[in-house]
């Protein structure tokens, strides 16, 4: 406790029982390095802020949502048309989900290009990648919950893809669907994943990720010693700037929700033919379009299987980035990582655009 701090019986009582002054002291000492790439640090905070929005709006939606085939669509329509500000909550939840994934991608690539994954931050990288995977899982499971035509058939296509993976694919698809096809069991499972299983894992991983960031401090660009850089105090200087950005994001979210409320579509009809031009959400579009381009058979391999195998290898390589980025002699393969990052961005951007256009 600083010697100059005035005595306060209530705060002392609280500190004796919670040790809150330790946290405050940590916050007092936390600083952010100042350099050309300092702005990229904000994206971690933006992602966290959007996650918070998701939790709040998700809990509010739970008050009215009913996870059954008979009631899901009507309950979402009820939220959109009858519940006071229900349209706003649902639209913000949907838009925020998309911005969250976008922010997570930007955060990930900023880590790649500033080489913040280097030793000793391998576990921070791994927990971040796992969180990105969880966010995609939230997107996939949440997409089905309104039980509309597009979401039903998109889930059908998505789980069909999973089933084409050899050995583990069919049981995995069956586990996801709760049967041979997308139906009532799939909806309840996806609901359980979306509101219980994935959030539990996410909260644990977010805690670990933040703890590791705090433990190692903010990463500085490679080749620059942290001691030679100027720093900004996290509280209040950096935090207030982050707050400005959060307010900005909130304004963007409100604008999107008010001007482009999230569509409800038509109730899912398993006996109807799939809607024309059906495609997944934008964050799965590059992979979807790639699979569409691969011929049905390549040599004696099934095209889709080959595509999924390729994605699996790519994902495994990306997860292991901090390990192959460090050479055998401990040197850092910065150029190789940057090239891989640029390649991945170009691939994702190009194929996502092509997926939309074609």
């Amino acid at each position: 406790m600083p010697a100059t701090e005035p005595k306060n019986k209530t705060l002392d009582w609280l500190d004796e029982r919670t040790g809150w002054r330790m946290v405050r002291d940590l916050a007092d000492h936390k600083v952010v390095p100042l350099h050309a790439g300092t702005a990229w640090y904000y994206f971690g905070g933006i992602t966290l802020f959007l996650l918070g929005i998701q939790v709040i709006t998700g809990v509010l939606l739970l008050l009215y949502y009913r996870p059954t085939v008979a009631e899901a669509f009507d309950s979402v329509r009820f939220i959109m048309t009858r519940v006071e500000f229900g349209w706003l909550i649902r639209s913000i939840h949907s838009w925020s989900a998309n911005l969250l994934i976008l922010a997570a991608f930007v955060h990930m690539f900023s880590v790649v290009f500033t080489h913040a994954y280097r030793r000793p931050r391998e576990l921070t990288w791994l927990s971040g990648i796992a969180l990105l995977g969880l966010m995609l899982g939230f997107g996939f499971s949440g997409y089905l919950l309104p039980w509309n035509q597009i979401s039903y058939f998109a889930t059908k296509v998505g789980t069909d893809m999973a089933s084409s993976v050899p050995v583990a694919g069919p049981p995995m698809a069956r586990f996801l669907r709760g049967g041979d096809d997308v139906g009532a069991a799939t909806l309840t499972r996806f609901f359980a994943f979306h509101v219980m299983i994935l959030p539990l894992i996410t909260f644990g991983l977010v805690g670990l990720h933040l703890l590791l960031v705090q433990f190692h401090g903010m990463s500085t660009p490679s080749g620059v010693s942290a001691s030679r850089l100027a720093h900004m105090k996290f509280f209040p200087n950096f935090f207030l700037r982050e707050l400005v950005i959060w307010y900005g994001v909130l304004a963007v979210l409100g604008t999107l929700a008010a001007i482009f409320p999230w569509e409800l579509g038509q109730k899912a009809d398993p006996f109807a033919s799939a809607p024309a031009g059906i495609r997944p959400e934008w964050y799965f579009l590059a992979e979807f379009y790639t699979l569409k381009l691969i011929p049905s058979h390549v040599w004696f391999f099934e095209g889709e299987l080959l595509g999924l195998l390729g994605f699996g290898l790519l994902a495994a390589g990306w997860v292991a980035l901090p390990f192959w980025a460090a050479g055998r002699n401990g040197e850092h393969r910065a150029r190789l990582v940057t090239a891989a990052g640029v390649f991945l961005i170009c691939y994702l951007a190009t194929f996502t655009i092509l997926g939309y256009v074609k």
């Binding site: 105090k233 209040p236 900005g248 001007i259």
Partner: protein
């Protein structure tokens, strides 16, 4: 084991790939070898439905297809019938097509009353009277390249029927002796039925055969026109039968049921212009200012009023939907309104204004309700936008306040600190 298969394949390939009931078909062998122009049937027959079912030339024309000697193959002793006379063609085809036991082997669901019907048709009666210019089986179905009706290349496939009939019925020279018009096909091509058939690809849309019959083709009698139209337009016929017009139109000199107002071959999209205005069909019988003409004008006004009201609701709902508002319930309700408009147009055929008023009133109530829903959605949209503007303004103020706070905190140079950052806990 494979040798016979190879020999058969070579024979099959060399004989133009014509499948036949037997590998050794002297008819095909000889006719294929003839000069161009005289081998006619052998080139056409490869697409014939009879050949596809394993029949051969001899099954229709008789003779012995197994003999390479033409004098034996086409001898009367072997039952050779040769080319049938034109007047004998229907009976020639009927020898199989009117035989249920024979037809059951190839097409068990196929009708076998074509010849019987043909004899009742105008074509069949004239043929029996010695007029060989009338249509026989081959004029519609073709000869030697006869395809199944479901084959889109067949001249009697629904899409091709009007053109097939028009080959004769649009030919002024051919129709001159019969003194019948030749503009039916031209008129039909302007009709809603032609649009349904060719633009929408609706194979159930009526063609010539749907109203006139196919094998028993003849014009519907005046008194049976409504029944003919009623085979598809069931509800319209029921109401028309109850109307005052039924007895008049179907009676002597009445002109014949539905066609009095709607015409026959050139049936166009009906509208209230048929009831009132310079092109009103009602005005052909009822003078302006008379009670029937006034009733027609009144009913036209009701239909137009409901149509306008529903369109107005639709416009407002579409605008609301395009603004991102959820109006699917109201749009579903609008479907009910349109159903009432159809019912009102239907009720018109009974010529009972009181009966017509019911769907009109129900439709108007839906139009009002959906219009209000659309207007409420647009008000809600505006309310949201105002809310957004206020929120963004408040957020902007909050941002400015924080920026001001940051500047105040950092005026004494406290932004930057030197030295290492917070390390391990």
């Amino acid at each position: 084991m494979r040798a016979p298969a190879i020999v058969f394949f070579l024979y099959w390939s060399l004989s133009g790939g014509v499948p036949s009931g037997s590998a050794a078909d002297s008819c095909m062998t000889c006719h294929s070898a003839m000069e161009e122009g005289t081998k006619g049937p052998s080139t056409l027959i490869k697409n014939d439905v009879h050949i596809a079912h394993g029949l051969s030339c001899a099954d229709c024309h008789g003779g012995d297809r197994t003999s390479d000697d033409p004098s034996v193959a086409m001898s009367k002793a072997k039952g050779f019938k040769g080319k049938p006379a034109r007047a004998a063609i229907p009976k020639f085809c009927a020898s199989c097509h009117s035989n249920p036991d024979f037809m059951r082997k190839f097409a068990p669901r196929e009708r076998v009353d074509q010849y019987e019907l043909y004899q009742t048709s105008v074509h069949g009666k004239r043929l029996a009277a010695g007029d060989t210019n009338v249509a026989t089986c081959i004029d519609c179905h073709s000869v030697h390249d006869i395809r199944a009706v479901k084959d889109s290349m067949s001249p009697v496939y629904p899409l091709n029927v009007p053109e097939t009939c028009s080959r004769c019925h649009s030919d002024q020279q051919k129709m001159a002796p019969y003194k019948i018009p030749t503009n039916q096909f031209a008129e039909y091509r302007t009709s809603v039925h032609w649009d349904a058939l060719t633009k929408r690809g609706d194979l159930s849309a009526p063609t010539c055969a749907s109203c006139h019959g196919n094998h028993g083709a003849k014009p519907p009698e005046v008194e049976s026109v409504a029944a003919v139209c009623g085979t598809c337009h069931v509800a319209f016929e029921e109401l028309y039968d109850k109307s005052v017009h039924e007895a008049i139109f179907s009676g002597a000199g009445g002109g014949g049921g539905c066609i009095v107002c709607h015409s026959n071959h050139g049936i166009h999209q009906p509208s209230t212009a048929m009831l009132v205005g310079p092109h009103a069909v009602c005005s052909e019988c009822h003078d302006a200012g008379t009670a029937p003409a006034n009733t027609a004008a009144q009913m036209a006004g009701w239909i137009d009023g409901l149509d306008r009201a529903l369109k107005q609701s639709e416009t407002v709902l579409t605008r609301a939907e395009e603004s991102g508002m959820e109006v699917s319930e109201a749009q579903m309700g609008l479907t009910g309104g349109r159903e009432n408009l159809v019912k009102a147009r239907l009720a018109l055929h009974a010529m009972e204004p009181d009966e017509m008023r019911k769907p009109i009133d129900a439709g108007m109530a839906i139009a009002k309700e959906t219009l209000e829903a659309g207007q409420a959605a647009l008000r809600e949209r505006n309310y949201r936008r105002w809310g957004l503007a206020v929120s963004v303004l408040l957020i902007g103020i909050a941002i400015l306040a924080i920026r001001f706070l940051i500047r105040r905190i950092e005026t004494n140079g406290s932004r930057e600190v030197r030295g290492p950052q917070q390390g391990p806990l």
